[in-house]
Symmetry: C2
Subunit: 549 residues, 2 copies
């Protein structure tokens, strides 16, 4: 059988139903096999977005996400999406086409040779620091080995992207499927250190004001149920990281919502008062922790990624380098003596005394808008956001009461992700409605994919916040550069009605707060993609968490 | 003075008049200083295009091109443009903003730490293999050193991109300009080996059918005049590489035009008959040489980049690793006994007997269209092309009789370059009219920059070849995959009139060959940007060079 057919079969066996690709001569056999093996594929309009779509596909399905692109610029274009999957821990396999082996810089191995074959570059050193595994497949008979190893690494431990570069002569080689060597992971997984578990139990017992900080690692480790059991057992308040904020409904009594630099108003206050942080599957990122924690608080951090435990920005008292599921299961079996009921009440008090107020006024306040969208959203919808104000406001105003999920750029808050993440989400699960929110600035970066959205007819409602350009940057420039606005001006806005029309999307607009509810209801009841311009406040300010009352 | 101000001043001192940027909090001081120092800047709508614009700016002005972007995704987005500058030898300086030093993975130096600060990634390992110099500037007092070294390396030898990553705390540091350490290149440039020069003279004297292959290295080395003198002295025919094809008018008697895999029909024939190739400032790329050269031909290759001389795809008899200008000057002083008059006549005969015929018919043939555009173009215009058919056809049909230039993607023929390269070209020299030709497929990749084009009001005429999607890929799939068309279909075309309108560009269309001349004349006389849809043959075939008659 042909190597490219083997690859397509292998991907299908992973349960992957959709591949994101852009065709090319360098990937011609791969493209052909993908179609031939009845794998469904979505053609993107710039390779940059293929790994982004694959990432949201992976995050929603819990499966592998796959992107297939061509050599040279195909690969370099994909770097931006790849880096998202890297920092946000998504199991994405990128397969790139490559010229015949003999014309690759990779094989030539001459220092600083820039390009050899037609449309060729050695992509491996470029993506190496952004992947868990990146290899050019030289020997057709090694294809099974590379695929098995790559996919295992992508999905195990802290997930992340992997990259296989397949020369044309390898793609089209004929192999004997039965003779291929496979790959087996080494047995030694990181076992939970029992002593550390005991120490955690002790620290919990000593603590007066314990706080769980929970991140998407819990979902990735498929331990959401165990996590919920643990909260019920410990009765400790929980603050969620951005990528973890959809794990619990906001109304849940132990859930204090999303924390961090742009978290809910009272969360930093609570973090600073806590005397014991138990971090589960959150990397305790710089923008999350900032200066919130008290110097005297003890910190227990459970993370499968050793690098996160060792990083200089956080002082961890008890580093537990283990699968978070194993840790939670371990803790569930322990007799933990912790009584945090007063502290919990305090926390719940803060939560109640700082309700998120989105004023009903014109021009539309984003908090108001997002809160109404949240309230009117259907069960199991997926929220997708983009950079700028929409990123921060969705981080504070979404409530996840009805099984909704959020797919967004975690570590980077990159501009331009909303459309590709929405497309990936919609193709992962057509039964979920996708509510994507982007800014007039962020929209532009991958605006070409509006056409992918319309031609695939996906159930994506794309809300475009028209607030006259880069409000977030104007706010930063006001703070740091005496209000000089450079490259963040309001002058050059797009005409969104015409944009929607040009990309063949139905257009709606929401111009004032009085029509927000009616329009949203109407729009969410429509079938297929809709482009909605939301004219809102050009001076939107983001609520900042407070540390002291 | 502030480091960011120092950087802006330094760039201004390089004679750079335009910077290509996208603002961000991570580059906030850089952005502010660029504006404050009265450097003109163009705001792009995706960082991917900033280095592309900087590249065409550099190639047209002979100066440095500069892009300024923010941390994290700002940098990773820019990788695609960066890689173009790398493979096509353009002196581009990318300056990226970065978070405070203490929050960089670069400083933390922990293996596989994915991201530490807000919107942070270590960009250096990603861009390292794509640059001549890539550094994070840690010490504010080293800024002069890094800038001088980076710019020197970008412009010297074989030019290429360089990258400086500047943390926020460094950007805003106050330095004493007078105390800064500078950087001086080591004296030892590669000197021309006199023995090799003599050997070249001997080989020329022995040759019956010598052929010069000339590439953009000649222009980069600022030796175009010397090159012309050399041709007049040697009276040898010349074939031009793609990036060198605008160096001589096609009608010039020694010029046989553009060669290579998709070169002019007779050029491969001539290459295969030659018994001595003298390659000047061309890398003799795989797609250029393919199987054209005779086994017995001697090859002299003059290249400043040692890696190109050593590459496995070409057997070079006499490797001359020197500045091409120095070599040409050396050769001009030698007494070269070469008489190629009969051979020259043969070559000229082939040139005459294979005129490029673009049939006047409907649907419009691309050769016809490009030939007419060429004929009607104004003096000193700049042609810009994109991937696909337009790339190959412009490579065969342009004539450069009136001081025109071409700016295109050389090694990669990447999709999506036409608009950014056109914008960079137009801002390099507003006195030149830009004639950009793109395909309906290639247009999409950086379609967001249509808005940059319109809002800057540049004199760019953008011809969009509507031929129902990816013709080139359909042709490849016909050849290699039994005609199965995957991801190259005709179904999902854009409505270009609406696209032009949405991005606020005047729209014109050319629907049949009869109106080509009239419309082109009219359009080229308009001021400012115009978007022109050219409805053309959905089955456009590319003329293939022949090796034998
Ligand atoms: C790829 C990328 N480049 C630059 C930035 C820096 N940045 C953050 S927010 C922002 C402006 C976003 O504008 P818009 O989407 O209109 O949202 P607004 O801030 O106006 O609400 C910019 C430029 C980024 N996050 N990502
Ligand atoms: C970034 C990038 N991705 C993929 C390719 C492979 N490729 C070469 S030509 C082509 C189709 C170009 O379509 P279009 O611009 O419409 O030109 P046509 O071939 O139809 O004339 C593709 C996909 C490429 N050159 N660059």
């Amino acid at each position: 059988m042909k190597v490219s057919d083997y690859i397509a079969d292998f991907i299908a066996r992973q349960g992957v139903k959709k591949i994101f690709m852009l065709s090319g001569s360098g990937s011609v056999y791969l493209d052909d096999s993908i179609a031939g093996k009845n794998l469904d594929f979505i053609c993107v309009r710039n390779e940059a977005t293929a790994p982004m779509m694959a990432e949201s596909y992976a995050r929603l399905t819990g499966k592998l996400g796959v992107a297939c692109i061509t050599s040279g610029p195909g690969g370099t274009n994909a770097v931006s999406g790849l880096s998202e999957a890297w920092v946000d821990s998504a199991p994405v396999l990128v397969i790139s086409g490559q010229v015949d082996k003999k014309h690759t810089c990779h094989k030539a191995n001459i220092k600083n040779l820039r390009s050899l074959g037609i449309q060729e570059i050695d992509i491996i050193p470029i993506v190496n620091s952004l992947t868990k595994y990146a290899q050019m497949v030289e020997d057709p008979d090694s294809i099974r080995y590379h695929l098995e190893k790559a996919v295992y690494l992508a999905k195990s431990g802290r997930p992340g992207p992997v990259w296989l570069d397949i020369p044309l002569d390898v793609q089209s080689s004929i192999i004997d499927e039965k003779m291929l060597e496979g790959w087996n992971p080494e047995a030694s997984e990181k076992d939970l250190d029992k002593n550390k578990l005991k120490e955690a139990v002790m620290l919990l017992a000593e603590s007066k004001r314990p706080l769980i900080i929970a991140g998407q690692g819990i979902r990735i480790a498929k331990s959401l149920d165990e996590f919920k059991n643990l909260i019920e057992k410990l009765k400790i308040p929980v603050i969620l990281s951005r990528l973890g904020q959809d794990m619990l409904p906001f109304s849940y009594r132990y859930n204090l919502g999303h924390g961090g630099m742009k978290g809910l108003r009272y969360t930093k206050l609570i973090m600073s008062k806590s005397d014991l942080i138990l971090s589960l599957g959150s990397r305790l990122a710089v923008p999350f922790v900032s200066d919130a924690l008290s110097e005297s608080a003890k910190i227990i951090m459970v993370d499968i990624d050793e690098a996160e435990l060792k990083k200089p920005s956080i002082r961890v008292d008890l580093q537990i380098n283990s699968d978070v599921k194993e840790f939670i299961e371990g803790l569930l079996k322990e007799d933990v003596k912790v009584d945090a009921s007063d502290w919990l009440k305090d926390c719940q008090g803060y939560k109640e005394s700082y309700p998120l107020a989105g004023p009903a006024r014109n021009p539309i306040d984003l908090y108001y808008f997002v809160s109404r969208l949240d309230a009117l959203s259907k069960e199991n919808s997926v929220f997708v956001s983009d950079a700028g104000s929409s990123y921060y406001v969705t981080g504070q105003a979404l409530r996840f009461e009805k099984g909704q999920r959020e797919i967004t750029s975690g570590a980077f808050a990159s501009m331009g992700l909303a459309i590709p993440l929405a497309i990936g989400s919609a193709s992962a699960d057509p039964s979920r409605q996708i509510l994507a929110i982007t800014g007039d600035g962020s929209l532009e970066l991958n605006i070409q994919e509006l056409k992918t959205m319309s031609s695939c007819g996906l159930d994506i409602k794309l809300f475009v916040i028209n607030n006259g350009g880069y409000v977030s940057i104007r706010n930063t420039q006001d703070a740091l550069c005496g209000g000089r606005h450079v490259g963040s001006g309001q002058a050059e806005g797009l005409n969104f009605k015409k944009i929607a029309d040009a990309f063949e999307l139905p257009y709606e607009s929401i111009q004032n707060y009085e029509e927000v509810d009616g329009k949203i209801t109407e729009i969410l009841n429509k079938k297929g993609p809709v482009f909605i311009e939301v004219v809102s406040d050009n001076c939107q300010k983001i609520i900042e968490p407070i540390k002291q009352i």
